[in-house]
């Protein structure tokens, strides 16, 4: 049974990390990061089977790929707090010569990152490749992926989605951050995605919803169910219904904070809604 108090504390601390990272350099993407905080915390601390030491090949452990690389602030915070690199390094986010690039990269050798992302629409393909490698290696572990909902507008996703189903890539769980927002506005106004569930199903995927995508219990229960569905011949898709900007009242339910940092005053307000739990970096 998960220690929910500890996980909740971590969620609040990660929110602070996200806000402080983007505020310091006045750039980066808080909205999507905050919306996926509970998911990341659950994934890295409850769901994934992870080895102590990071290796690129990740043999004998579950893997995670972030396709929507712009939400690097949440990824970096959760990686640091899971021990992949010192939390103090969050101080270098987006600075010259940092390993914490604007979008995640392998180029600077940051532990926890296995592929560059940022240019959208490529992560599912990469995850399929890694999942196929696991099968060739007779490694029973799972490949997890997160992608954005706006990101699904990229055609490459649908090539990948078709491939995974057509080739029984069933050690793969793709989670879609269904926050209904992207840069220019609500997804339904920019380019309606239609019925995402029906689309994945029509392509031959096993699809399930996590309606409360910002609720740790719902995420953990839902993702465990998703894991049970692996190994049955079909790739698994989880539609994670999240609120962009979750945890900071003025950032919620809007695309406005997709790629905008809070100013000093806004940071203070946002942090006051998320008081220190584990300690700031």
């Amino acid at each position: 049974m998960a220690d929910y108090k500890a996980l909740e504390d971590l969620v609040v601390q990660v929110r602070r990390d996200i806000l402080r990272q983007v505020h310091k350099v006045n750039s980066g993407h808080p909205g999507g990061s905050l919306g996926c905080t509970e998911f990341f915390v659950a994934l890295y601390n409850e769901l994934m089977e992870r080895n102590e030491k990071f290796t690129m090949d990740g043999i004998g452990e579950d893997l995670f790929f972030l396709s929507n690389g712009h939400i690097s602030p949440v990824f970096y915070s959760v990686l640091a707090r899971a021990g992949y690199f010192p939390v103090e390094e969050l101080n270098t986010f987006r600075l010259l010569n940092s390993r914490l690039q604007g979008h995640p990269t392998t180029h600077e050798g940051l532990p926890g990152v296995r592929i560059a992302s940022g240019s959208l629409g490529q992560g599912i393909s990469v995850s399929i490749g890694a999942a196929l490698a696991k099968k060739l290696n007779k490694d029973k572990h799972i490949v997890y992926t997160l992608c954005g909902d706006g990101e699904l507008q990229e055609g490459q996703n649908w090539e990948a989605i078709m491939y995974a189903a057509g080739n029984n890539v069933d050690n793969l769980i793709v989670t879609v951050d269904l926050n209904g927002q992207q840069i220019d506005g609500a997804t339904k106004n920019v380019l309606p995605l239609g019925n995402v569930k029906a689309k994945f199903e029509a392509f031959g995927w096993n699809v399930m919803d996590i309606e409360k995508g910002n609720d740790l219990k719902a995420i953990i229960a839902g993702m465990k169910k998703a894991k049970e569905k692996t190994g049955n011949g079909k790739p698994v898709c989880v539609l994670l219904h999240t609120v962009m900007g979750n945890g900071v009242d003025f950032m919620m339910h809007t695309h406005d904070w997709h790629g905008k940092a809070p100013n000093d005053q806004q940071l203070e307000t946002a942090l006051s809604q998320n008081p220190v739990t584990l300690g700031d970096y």
Binding site: V25, S27, G28, G69, R94, L95, L96, N97, S98, L100, Q101, G102, H103, T105, H107, E108, A116, S117, G118, S119, L120, G121, G150, E151, Q153, E154, G155, Q182, I183, D184, V190, L191
Partner: protein
Amino acid sequence: MKKYTDTGKKDTRSGFGDGLTELGKKNKDVVALCADLTGSLKMDEFKENHPERFFQIGIAEANMIGIAAGMTIGGKIPFTGTFANFSTGRVYDQIRQSVAYSGKNVKICASHAGITLGEDGATHQILEDIGLMKMLPGMTVINTCDYNQTKAATIAIADYEGPVYLRFGRPKVANFTPADQNFQIGKAVQLQEGTDVTIIATGHLVWEALQAAETLNENGITSDVINIHTIKPLDDEAILKSVKKTGCVVTAEEHNFLGGLGESVARVLSTHHPAPQEFIATQDTFGESGTPEQLMDKYGLNASAIVNAVKKVIARK
């Protein structure tokens, strides 16, 4: 020396946006397409003025290029807008087949080009796009230096029949070319006259070249400074005329030295008038996060780097 004054820092992408707004009013065949970056590309005003001629494609750049190509069939003049990376590498085959090879009148307008995109880092900082685009037969490649020139170029390319790649950037930079300039595709602009060295610059490096020429002048070195806003077709004549006089050249661009303006200039010189050349460009590397100024400094893309290159190239004469 001619004196150039910065009339107030502005971003070149706003020059594109304002040029597009003007085009919208005067040319009813101009249509605009965007891939979920309307604000970043400064296309909001065109969108507001002409909702029926603005097409939000979503995050689907390949589809955007294809749709743009199709719209030319029926006489529309499509301007596509997204970041330089997603305007070129992301959609290279779509541009190659549906636009360039098919000879379609599509204007591929690319913001956030080069390293000055800044904090987003290497995934978004394309330093290879000039090379990619200039290699396509029939493609015109333009890289403007300031707000005024970008606005003028945007308006000018609508009257030119054929595919164009228009490259501009994100940061606010000096605005020093005339507001009423007559933008001529393929025509170099001579900014300074000198006898010791030719400095050929494009994009954000043009202002840096002017700063460098001033410093050099104080040290008794006079420079021809040439603004090459059109990398293809290149103004061979202007380049040769200048280098025949000065005997050496420094090229400056916010791009990889492989495939960029410098290589185009080297081809002209090696064919007609071999001369020593130094390249101010990135050295076959990806970019990284940082502020635009920090990055230009780290990657040697500023006035002081040009000054050093000039001293080096003069010594090689």
